[in-house]
Symmetry: C2
Subunit: 409 residues, 2 copies
């Protein structure tokens, strides 16, 4: 992509209103645009990061048997009334349409997936199965906060699992927890699996928390065994549930994923049951497993930046290489050749081909954008048939031969 | 994918309530599930078709310079009031949130993209550009109709173009029209470019209409030059606008895409302007270009089916090969080997590995599902180290050697 054509506008000045580092950097670097409080657009740069995150999540969900589907955001009031969530969940957006029809705007999809499963599951032979989607969610947050960390509309991966018995649910729950660990590792962040309240069905649920001062959660990390527990259950647990230790580190954090044993909470209201081997009807057991994609993107930036800008992990970076040329038409021609070679080899490269920018401006913006590898072509480097290579995360700069670029990127 | 694990349930009986052939077939074959009137889920089979359609559209939009973004569904009432559409568009879903905030649920995204562009476009150097998204739209249709052909919530590709002058808009409009022709050709349907009303700015817009009795539109095809015009403008055009002929074929059709010269209709309310080469401020000219993905999927089925079920064009089929085995463990082992070979070579194959189905049931369901190539393994074919190959769209069956399968698929 030629930067002169890229739909974005970078701003070198820190915003006075930014609610977090990631909010400031992602808006200033032109990754996202704030339409209103808690509602954002993803511009081409941000969209590319989102797609990379989506692909990492999709791959890991498919590896544990997840089948991708797409459920609607509109769902009938009746379904929400059945589960009691029409009145009990205050962040549910309620919508009135023509003919006085009332809808809930999906904040999660149990009210859709459970009645859907009822049309497909009859016998123990139909279990277990796992479906997931990557779909917008809506939550009427009283206060939207911290840029894209807590928004009113957000892209979420939600997987739902369906089981014949508790043992099977427990087993899959751990398989999913492992997949989550993979996902967060691949996206370059360190998370703590954190015990949180489990609702009526199971004692605990598990959250995946990343330490950051931009987060809204408070977790307690056991100084001995490193298990973490959420503040909301710290009262009942003065000692570590795993090792009995009583000393904890208190840390601010952001929840980037959570997994939950729903049990029969949603199968009962929708009469979702199956016939077991002995011919008896039993309720299906469910689990749900969520990751917010935008929030994860924000968390990655919270974890990986410096004073000058974002430092994207390669796995999610919008481009792998940022090519910059400094100088006149001759240098530009060489840069164009390098750009086309890289592009032709399938390397995702952004070329800063703008002519009205100084070297200083180009470098500053490159640091702000945070693409992992920077290649600089100038008259000086061309004298040695070379380009200058620098990793965004490091200080060292080295000269490499033009014909050897592909080995380095 | 093993069919025994696929999340779907097929129904061999025609539905009494189906609103169109595509509605009946897509629901019965387990591609989509109707949650309520005009609101559908896409099950794994349907989701795969949707993704294939999406990829064809994305590729064609990128080829004409489109940059992909993602805009939110929630947008502030103020923006809709500014353009007058808060009151004038009766299918706009209006939503009230906490703190008495009012939102429109995006039925198209001019109210978001125009103010977004205003933050990025300043000079003639910033023009032209083209952004697109593939995102849910919501329309409060009084009567949702014909299955997935007209729904209240639907996935749509919308591209917006931004220009410095009329000539540039006109040129890009035709480039986009050509890309649309490509898209519909690649998805296997025949469309008529159809003159329709153009709003205040231009005399006509263009629709892409596919002939089908399931459609809601009426178009008039000139018997001489094959240009088509929508009923809505037939009154003013008793003669063909192109060749002057007065004889037309009247046909029912469904609109699968439309393109529209918006001109300054949305740039004026949002004060979206640029400074030209001479330093004068001028309004930006806009175009918009839409395709509904679910509707296109329905249209493909309307165009391509027979009494027994769907006949997917290869380009959008959920799987390329439907592998069926008939017989005991020995045959199943051979089928398993073929399945793994195909899968390993990247061939998308659905294997009907179910044990409680008769040959007749498997064949009937294979026809219903409509996967382009059917491979049958049985004791009889194995005697000749072969499998039976049949194209869904043809009657002929032929034996091919197992070791030569890859050449045929």
């Amino acid at each position: 992509m030629q930067q002169s054509k890229l739909f974005y506008k970078a701003n070198k000045n820190k915003s006075a209103n930014a609610e977090s580092v990631s909010h400031d950097l992602l808006v200033r670097a032109g990754y996202v645009d704030q339409l209103m409080a808690g509602v954002y657009s993803f511009l081409p740069l941000g969209f590319r990061v989102l797609k990379n995150i989506e692909q990492i999540i999709r791959k890991n969900m498919e590896e544990i048997g997840g089948q991708e589907i797409l459920m609607p955001s509109l769902s009938p009031k009746e379904n929400w009334v059945k589960t009691g969530r029409w009145d009990s969940v205050d962040v549910l957006f309620k919508l009135k349409g023509s003919g006085d029809k009332e809808y809930g705007l999906g904040l999660s999809h149990e009210e859709v997936v459970a009645p859907l499963a009822k049309k497909i599951v009859f016998s123990y032979r139909d279990l277990p199965f796992y479906v997931f989607q990557i779909q917008n969610k809506f939550r009427d947050e009283l206060r939207a906060k911290s840029g894209i960390l807590r928004t009113r509309e957000f892209l979420m991966k939600d997987l739902y699992s369906f089981h014949a018995n508790q043992g099977d649910l427990d087993k899959y729950y751990e398989i999913c927890a492992k997949a989550y660990k993979n996902i967060f590792k691949e996206t370059g962040i360190k998370v703590y699996r954190t015990l949180a309240s489990g609702g009526s069905f199971s004692k605990y649920s598990d959250e995946f928390q990343m330490l950051t001062n931009a987060g809204e959660d408070l977790i307690y990390i056991c100084k001995k065994c490193s298990i973490a527990i959420n503040k909301e259950i710290k009262g009942e647990n003065p000692t570590c549930p795993k090792c009995g230790n009583t000393e904890f580190d208190e840390k601010k954090s952001v929840e980037v994923g959570n997994i939950f044993k729903l049990g029969t909470k949603f199968s009962t209201p929708f009469d979702l049951k199956f016939t077991d081997r002995d011919g008896h009807d039993k309720p299906v057991l469910m689990g749900c497993y969520g990751i917010g994609l935008g929030r994860l993107m924000g968390a990655i930036v919270e974890a990986s930046h410096d004073d000058r800008g974002i430092i994207w992990p390669k796995s999610v970076a919008p481009f792998k290489v940022h090519l910059i040329h400094l100088g006149g038409p001759k240098v530009k021609t060489s840069a164009d050749k390098i750009y086309k070679t890289l592009h032709g080899e399938g390397v995702e490269v952004l070329w800063d081909d703008r002519e009205n920018k100084t070297a200083g401006e180009k470098f500053a913006e490159s640091d702000l954008l945070g693409i992992p590898l920077r290649l600089v072509v100038s008259e000086k480097t061309l004298e040695k048939n070379s380009v200058e290579l620098k990793e965004r995360s490091k200080d060292a700069v080295k000269l490499i031969k033009i014909k050897e670029i592909l080995k380095h990127v």
